[in-house]
Amino acid sequence: MAVVVAVLAAPVTTAVASPPAVDQYTTHLPGAGGNSGLASSSAPVAQPGQLPASVRADLSGQDGQVLALIATAPGLGAPAVTHGGGEASGSNGNGSLATPAAVEGASASPALTTAVADAAGSPQGLALLGVLAAIGVAAAGVRLVRRRRSSL
C-alpha cells in the first residue's frame, strides 16, 4: 500500500494508477466477528452440472449432495471450470473440469481432490467434513442395528 504515497510524491505525471474504486483490503474479509474465509456473504452454491455424469450418478443421498457442494461451489474453493467442446458435460459425457494449474499447463491433482482439499482448509470445509463423518457414523449405526434385529 505504501506505493500509493510514493507514486503520489514522485514527480511522475503520466501512468499513475488511479486509486481503486473500492477498498480491496476489506472487500473479501469475512464478516465482522466471523471467520468464514469466504469471499462473499452469499452461501456456497453447488453446481452439480459441472461434474461428469458418471460422478453425478454416484453422488446420491444427503452425503452425495454435500460432496457435490464441496466439489463444485467456488465459495468453498472449488476450481473454476473451463468448458471443452462447448458444454460442461462435453460431447462424450466427460466434462472438462479443469483446475487452474491444469489450465496453466502445470501438473495438477484431479479436480474433485483439489476441491475437497481446498474446502478442508477452511472452517466451512471442516464443518462439512464433520457433518459427513457424522452421517457416516449414523449410517453405520443404523446398519448395525438392522443386522442385529435380522439376526434375532
Binding site: 500500500m1 500509493v4 511522475v12 494508477a17 477498498d23 476489506t26 474479509l29 487452474p100 496453466e104
Partner: protein, 359 residues
Amino acid sequence: MRRATAALLAVAGIGLAAPAIPNAAAASTGFFGLSTAPPFDGRDVPKMRSTGVQTVRVPIVWASIQPRRDSLRWAGTDKAVGDLAARGIRTVPFVYGSPPWLAHELKRPPLGSATKENAWRRFLTRLVQRYGPRGTYWDGGYQRDHPGAQALPITAWQIWNEPNLRAFFLPQTKATPRRYAKLVRISHNAIRAVDPGARIVLAGVVGYAEPTAWAFLRKLYAVKGIKRYFDVAAVHPYSATIDQFRTILGNVHHVLATHHEGKTPLWLTEVGWGSAHHTNREPLNKGPQGQKRMLRRSFNLVLDNRARWHVARLFWFDWRDPVHGGHGGCNFCDSSGLLRHSHQPKPSYRAFRGFALSN
C-alpha cells in the same frame, strides 16, 4: 606501520562520523521493521532509528526512476536509501510500477513481450549495480551526502507488490500466479547475475483477497521449478480480527510447509491497522487504543508462533500518517501510522517501540 596507522585513523574516522545509535537499539535483533514510503522529513529517520528498527521497506517505483526510456532519475531513491543507511537502517525495497513508455498503467507488469521483459531486466540490473554490494552509489553520492558513513547495501529485493489485488497486478485471471512466477524468474536471474548473494523475496500477497494469499501461493507453487527462484515468501495479513490474522498465517504456513518443506522464511511485509474510528464498513480501523491493542496482540501471536510459522521479519505499515486523503482507495491507510502526520506519537508508537527494541 604507516599503513596500519592510516587504517586505524580511517576506522576511527568512520566511528566518529557514524551516527550515534541509542544503546537500547543495540538489543534489537531487527525482527521488527517498518513499511513506509518516502519522502522522509528531517525528523523521520532519526525517530525511526530510536525505535530500534534496522530495516525499512520502501517502494522503488520503476516509473518514477525511468519515466522515459532514455532517462534515469535516481535523486529521490538516493536520498531515501542514503538517509536510512546513514542512520544504520538497511532498505528492503519492493520494486514495482511499469513506466508509461511500456504500459498504460503502473500495475501492468512488464510481461508479454521481449521488449518489456528486457527493459525490466535492465532496470533491475541497474538497481543492483547502484545499491547492491559494491554498488556505485555507496562510493559516490552516498559519501558525498553522508561523509564517512558506513555503507548498507541492499541485499534483499522484493519483486512487485500484492499480485492478488487488481490495484497492483493486472490483469487478474486464473493465469495471474503463473504470470507472476515468470516475473519472479526473470527478476531472480537479472538480480543474481549482478549479486549472487542477493535474496529474492516474493511480493506480499494480501490475506483475504480474491484469490486468498494461500490459494495464490498454492497456484504459484504449481508452476514447475518456481522454488528455485525465490528465497523468502511474504504475506500481508490484513484482517479485522486476530482470529482472521491467525487463520491467514496458519493457512499460508500450511502451503509453504507442504510445498517447500516448511523451511522457506516468511516475511510479513505489511501488518497494520488504522487508528481512525471503527465502523462496520471500515473493519481495519480500530481507533487509537484499538490500533495499539491489535499491534500488541498480533505481535505477541507472531512471536509465540515465530518458529512454527518460520516468520523471520515483520514490518509494520505505516510509520507516519500521510496528509489526509493521501491514500486513495484504502480506508485504513490514512491512519495506520504510528505517528500522526504532525509527528505526534499515537499509543501504538510506544507499543511498537517496546517490541522493536527487545526483538
